[in-house]
Symmetry: C2
Subunit: 454 residues, 2 copies
């Protein structure tokens, strides 16, 4: 058996305690899988007085980041601080000091992946990040290794467990958004400030990481269009259900030409191939209506799932717990084992992530994505209203697939909801129609709309 | 970029043509991912006159296996013959000649894995087999690498696409077994002789391979208890549906103690920890009733899916096309890329599969697996019948969870179906009760029974 791999944990909150627990409670197993012992040498925390996993001996704990990074008996620094300021310094300093880095920090990778990976290449060290996307679901390895024969043509993913928990509670138990969020917070699925989860930012960070692996594009998080679940009304969940659909918050990547048959006649989600011929990919996070029978529609609670379309294999799905102490620790320790085996170093060198050696893809705005749309309007209950709306849609060459308008409670009452499902249309064109529809005197509130998943 | 990796395909049927197509149509992509060119140098077939993928140049093709194996420009032999006789010779000879081997041959691994891996270790060469289980779904890497921090405690998997296609057609379209099988054959999902698919043998081979990775046990296929779908009656699919369940053919592995809470009060599938304290695993293939909302219940058509329970991560699911030309080629080429990168060699050395270095598990007979059971009887429609049956179950300490008996078409008519769902009971004990029930003069036909998935 080879030399011991020394490990420093920097940050020891929920996930850090899980990682420490696995390493300290199952050393034989981890050594057997890694082909060498993995020794937890240091645990760096802000507040040493905080309660930790009982296996973490007091003398492992310190507040000295520098000492951990420069300890010659430490070969791998596991960054679990989160955020993009202190964490970035820890990662760059660790690489400069000749340490490999394992991180669960999607925000850091999305924000400064190029800088981090450039530093790693310069230092001839490896950065691993299986835990950064989808927690315990091994989607980084799936995209980077298992599907290496494929060019990915699309990704549809549930990457934020909090949002999925809330949507599941709203759909299955008829809860309001506020009540579902409160329950998620009570159960520990949502932070006290849930903004980044429910507004789509967390999912956008993770999508940026997946897009780097699948398409070689470096999309800054703020370049990824996003719409969260914080504006979803229970009425839309009800209408969706009536139409046979479930609303899910999806992170999506659509390449130009995905799903288009050679003869161009097949209609599906995706964008047309770009005129300039170079491959393109559109990235966005948004609530999407999925048929009840779709694989992703059936992902419940705080689970994550990633549906990947490869040009050779077709579609494969990866699903499991997207967060939490032990699931995320499972992915961090898998990275440590891979470093022990020597696999991670080979993968890092071969994948050339966040380098100038991309795959030729350029990011295009989601306006070009073709989709069917769900559109809910509040309209006056009087003659001619529907004629105005359908005329505007016809002007933009958007045809109507189905329509739901329930009888008003009383004649001559206030505005009533009208739901229209369209056939395929480019997002940009649909938005243009929307602007005109919103300007009609007969529509009482801005239209609500979502893409349909197929 | 490093040296070219030379490849010989031995066997060029459906999958072989797919592999050749990927290598020949996308050489730049494959070279980029592998860090070196992958060159298809030889294609060995039985009948050179057979039509092939048009990219396979005539001068690549020969019938000379020996020449391919001993070609100094060939570094990897891809065995796609299938079966366990010629294929075994090809694999052993290739290893002895210093070639790495990639194979999709689950029967060979299940039957002679120890011999093959011993030969590989002796020759210091690597054997890869992602395509051997679940086609395009990367479950070998998931178990061996991504989940390396975990001890797997259970596996439930749909590993035979033909059976799943037939069951889906029976459940969703009300087809008979014979009609569904005929359609599967017409669509190319089932062989002319479908025996190995529908009797559970193919799934048992694949389960044997998964069990080696997850538990280090070498279970000969004939040691894995199996029941296929060839005996499933449409009436049971109907009753299952009425109870809220779907019947799926599952390959299952349950370790001793899986799902048992520390205090022993929680009831679930699995076996009790063995008295001798050493870890045990029960392996079997059988139709199982799953709740409509279970992840595996929702796997439709020819898809495969593997649900893995890890002691750290919890449950993760891997799903996708389980067979076919391009999905299987995706996995074979991923193995070739891994050999190019140098990852596969590290994995092979670290995993020590089919070696004497097991994980201490012993295989136990499925009689000890605890399960709820679905039991259908044909009983005489007269007083006292139910009393006899429930008395026998009570004698074996098996309690009844629910019961369905529909009104007979006419009074005093022939035997009527009676469906009983039990609470948890050990399989052995349940079978004992069954023998006594079948011996009753009031039961008209041998009882039909299946496990329930939870």
């Amino acid at each position: 058996m080879s030399d011991t791999l020394g490990i420093a944990l920097v940050g020891c909150g929920t996930v850090g305690n899980g990682v420490a627990n696995v390493l300290l409670s199952r050393p034989e197993r981890v050594a057997q899988r890694a082909g060498r012992p993995l020794a937890l040498r240091r645990v760096v925390v802000r507040d040493p007085a905080k309660p930790r996993d009982p296996l973490v001996a007091r003398d492992l704990i310190s507040t000295d980041i520098r000492a951990a990074i420069h300890d010659p008996n430490v070969h791998v620094v596991v960054e679990l601080i989160g955020g993009t300021t202190v964490a970035k310094g820890v990662v760059l300093d660790s690489l400069a000091a000749g340490k490999h880095v394992v991180t669960a920090n999607k925000a850091l990778l999305a924000d400064a992946g190029a800088e981090v990976f450039e530093a790693a290449r310069k230092a001839e060290r490896t950065v691993c990040f299986e835990a950064a996307v989808a927690g315990g679901v091994p989607v980084i390895r799936a995209l980077g290794e298992s599907l290496a024969a494929n060019q990915v043509t699309a990704i549809q993913a549930i990457l934020n467990g909090t949002s999925n928990f809330i949507l599941t509670a709203m759909a299955e138990r008829g809860m309001s958004y506020a009540a579902a969020l409160a329950e998620a917070q009570k159960l520990g699925f949502a932070e006290a400030d849930p903004t980044l989860d429910v507004d789509g930012s967390d999912a956008a960070h993770k999508l940026a990481v997946l897009a780097q692996i699948a398409f070689g594009v470096t999309a800054k998080p703020h370049e990824i269009a996003r719409q969260g679940i914080d504006t979803i009304d229970a009425i839309d969940i009800g209408f969706a259900n009536e139409l046979g659909y479930t609303i899910k918050l999806l992170a999506e990547a659509w390449t130009g030409g995905h799903g288009h048959a050679g003869n161009g006649t097949k209609q599906s989600r995706g964008t047309a191939p770009a005129d300039h011929g170079a491959p393109t990919v559109a990235l966005h996070v948004a609530p999407v209506l999925l048929r009840h029978t779709d694989l992703l529609a059936q992902v419940r609670g705080a689970y994550n799932a990633v549906l990947v379309y490869g040009d050779i294999v077709g579609e494969t799905l990866y699903q499991g717990p997207g967060a939490g102490r032990m699931p995320t620790a499972s992915s961090v320790v898998a990275d440590l084992i891979d470093l022990g085996v020597g696999r991670a170093q080979r993968t890092f060198a071969a994948a050339k992530l966040w380098s100038r050696e991309g795959r030729g893809f350029t990011v295009e705005p989601p306006e070009r994505v073709r989709s069917r749309f769900y559109l809910r309007l509040q309209v006056a209950d009087r003659p001619g209203v529907l004629a105005d709306i359908t005329r505007i849609l016809a002007d933009e060459e958007i045809s109507i697939s189905s329509l739901v308008q329930h009888e008003a409670a009383e004649e001559g009452g206030g505005p009533v909801p009208l739901v229209i499902v369209t056939h395929y249309a480019a997002t940009g064109r649909f938005r243009k129609a929307l602007t005109r529809i919103n300007a009609l005197s007969t529509t009482a509130a801005p239209a609500v709309f979502f893409s349909m998943g197929d």
